[in-house]
Amino acid sequence: MAAQELVIPDLEINRRLTILPMQEYYTSGHRTCQGCESALVMRYMAKVAGPRTLVTGTTGCMYVANTSYNSTPWALPWAHTQLGSAGSSAIGTAAALKVLMRKGRIAEEKINVIAFCSDGGGGDMGLATLSAALQDTRYNLLILLYDNESYANTDIQASGMTPWGAVTSFTPSGSEQRITQHRWKKNVPALLMAGHPTGRYFANASSGFGMDLMDKVRTALDVGGPTFVQTHDPCPKGWDFDPRMSHELAILAVECGITVLWDCLEGELRYQGLTKQQVEGKVRRKPVADYLRRQGRFAHFVDEDIDFFQSRIDEMWEDWILPGVLRVNQTPFGRLPVDGSSPVHPWHAGQDGASGNGNGSGAAAAPIAAVGGNRG
């Protein structure tokens, strides 16, 4: 194939993509798994960002698989940054560009700055730097968090964004304790959105909805200021499913209401695509069992675990003030029991059948007896 002419994509807020840009800036020849959806996210991101882009990436699959052993599939300038420093690298790069332009060392032009991190590097370790980057309105930067729900590069250790009950190297399922991942997945985009009024754009996307994801990346780059996009990417290695199902599972997660497609531009929250139809009541959510039963990491689930998972998802949709995004309920303890008994959330009580286990995450009401968990 002959070298293509560099085409700078046309970016415009609020105009949906109808034609896929054909240039690739993240090309073939990466050391990812078969069916790696995070690689697809990198591809979409690079596609819409175009050639005038600087990318930095924290340690994780998308660093190790793409730049090891003296070769790379990146056609964009890319630099590695330490695990947990996506925010600092983004802000440093953006500030350096600004200074170089002010001093006349490089031409004044729009150069996109993207820092990507994964759920471990961004959602766990790098949260502080993401927070710092999203506070500074002087610079234009995008932080993209690709969420494959574990530390997948180092052979699947649980992160703060691993779903409840999933098997990982750190949370195996045994005969004594069926469930060892007691933590509910943290909602990083909503957390960042709620806490950073300075951030101009926040979005949650899914690798299964490529056009929507590309629209979100494009909007973030165009609106400028500190922006954040998170994507949900199935990982065939860590979730234990046939690689050909990757894309379907990403779509299924949205259909079941587990992944919620939303964005928030300048403080205005919007839902997209299938999620929008679910919020408006035009489409019913599928049962989460459809999603859970197709993954080896949930193979140990019994019906009661699935019911518990479903009840948490239902609550997220029915009781939250912003369905699937922000948990501000009617009572401090969640849904009021219909029989009028004491309003202790089952999540914190951990005693009524479900394998729920309060880990005392900011809940003063959590009974101490529940810490350590009831054996599933």
């Binding site: 002959a2 800036y25 073939s28 020849g29 050391r31 790696c36 070769s71």
Partner: protein, 360 residues
């Protein structure tokens, strides 16, 4: 195993992640059985394979020695040297293996010791397999254990007896590294001892041996990859970026593939979905709106076949029936009928479309 050397290694070459637990069981059980015979042993996973990726060829070794000193010497090496058996857990690996780390595509029997045995789990004949396996300058043996490749996942193990059948076959083909009796005794100490013993005996009896003379087999085109020394590398570990419109030619992913997508261009509705969903950017747009496939970089994940809205348009076909990685759209362009004939022939040869993977 020759009598002079007091140390021998069993190399298990397998599909990363899908067969990781399988290879782990085989190597560990072999070492435990050898210890029952007053030998010493250890298992080792090649550094360059870790962390593993789905489907990418990987290796684990069981090193068995008569005394501790010989074992220590062998275990300090990057890869054990006296490999008396190479167990190939999936027959598509015979086309060559490229590790996760950067070595280039290596022949499956590269490290096999003279007189050693290549044990392949396959339903194919020795002639079919030797079509792919490169020749050596010494005599070696090809052993075939009839069976389908066993694919599992990281968390859910595909317990179909392939592990113990393979160990039984290893006991037979090495003739002395580990005996069948000690394997049965070792299996008897665990769960399902009788079932395991039956599987060990089945593997021991059903494996077939085919001596291969020096110079028999496919042409050996292996050229070791020349690694850049530190003087040739750029400062600060800078790696040159790919030119826009080109690919990373230093790492191609095709040895990861067990099946490849084959497109029925006649049925294509030009919806662009395969192009959009391919995580490896392997679909090349053609002027008339079809999508040709770059088989050099395709890793055979099957997402395209799964996402294609037209039934039977993209089918996953067993890799061993294909000779080259040349894109096929040019054949279709020059003669659509001939292409369709070729496609149907390949699908028939492979016994139908078959994405063979784990249980989930």
């Amino acid at each position: 195993m020759s009598d002079e050397t007091s140390v021998g290694a069993v190399d298990v070459t397998y599909r990363g992640i899908f067969q990781k637990n399988l290879a782990g069981v085989i190597t560990k059980e072999l070492v435990k059985a050898a210890r029952r015979e007053d030998k010493v042993g250890g298992t080792v996973q090649r550094y360059g394979d870790s962390p593993e990726r789905n489907g990418i060829p990987a290796k684990q070794f069981a090193v068995i020695a008569d005394d501790m000193d010989s074992l220590r010497v062998e275990m300090t090496k990057y890869e054990p040297e006296n490999v008396v058996v190479v167990c190939v857990m999936d027959d598509t690996l015979t086309k060559g293996v490229e590790s996760w780390a950067w070595y280039g595509v290596r022949p499956i029997n590269l490290n096999l010791a003279p007189g050693g045995t290549l044990l392949v789990i396959s339903r194919r004949s020795p002639e079919e397999l030797l079509h792919w396996i490169p020749r050596r300058t010494y005599d070696w043996n090809l052993a075939i254990l009839p069976g389908e490749p066993s694919f599992g996942g990281l968390w859910v193990y595909n317990d179909d007896g392939t592990d113990y059948r393979t160990m039984g076959a290893v006991a037979r083909v090495t003739g002395g590294l580990v005996s069948l009796d000690s394997l049965i005794a070792e299996a008897g100490s665990g769960k399902d001892g009788d079932l395991r013993a039956a599987q060990l005996r089945e593997g021991y009896e059903s494996v077939t041996m085919h001596p291969v003379g020096a110079g028999v087999g496919a042409e050996d085109t292996y050229v070791p990859v020349e690694m850049p020394g530190w003087t040739q590398m750029r400062e600060g570990l800078v790696v040159p970026a790919v030119e826009v419109g080109k690919n990373n030619t230093l790492f191609m992913k095709y040895t990861t593939r067990t099946t490849r997508p084959l497109v029925k261009f006649d049925a294509c509705v030009k919806c662009q979905i395969c192009y959009t969903v391919c995580p490896d950017e392997c679909f090349i747009p053609t002027p008339e709106g079809h999508y040709d496939i770059n088989y050099q970089h395709c890793c055979g994940c099957g997402i395209c076949a799964q996402s294609c809205p037209v039934s039977g348009c993209i089918e996953m076909v067993d890799e061993t029936v294909f000779e080259s990685n040349e894109p096929l759209h040019s054949v279709f362009e020059s003669d659509p009928a001939a292409y369709e004939e070729l496609r149907a022939e390949k699908v028939a040869q492979a016994g139908g479309a078959n994405p063979h993977y784990g249980i989930y």
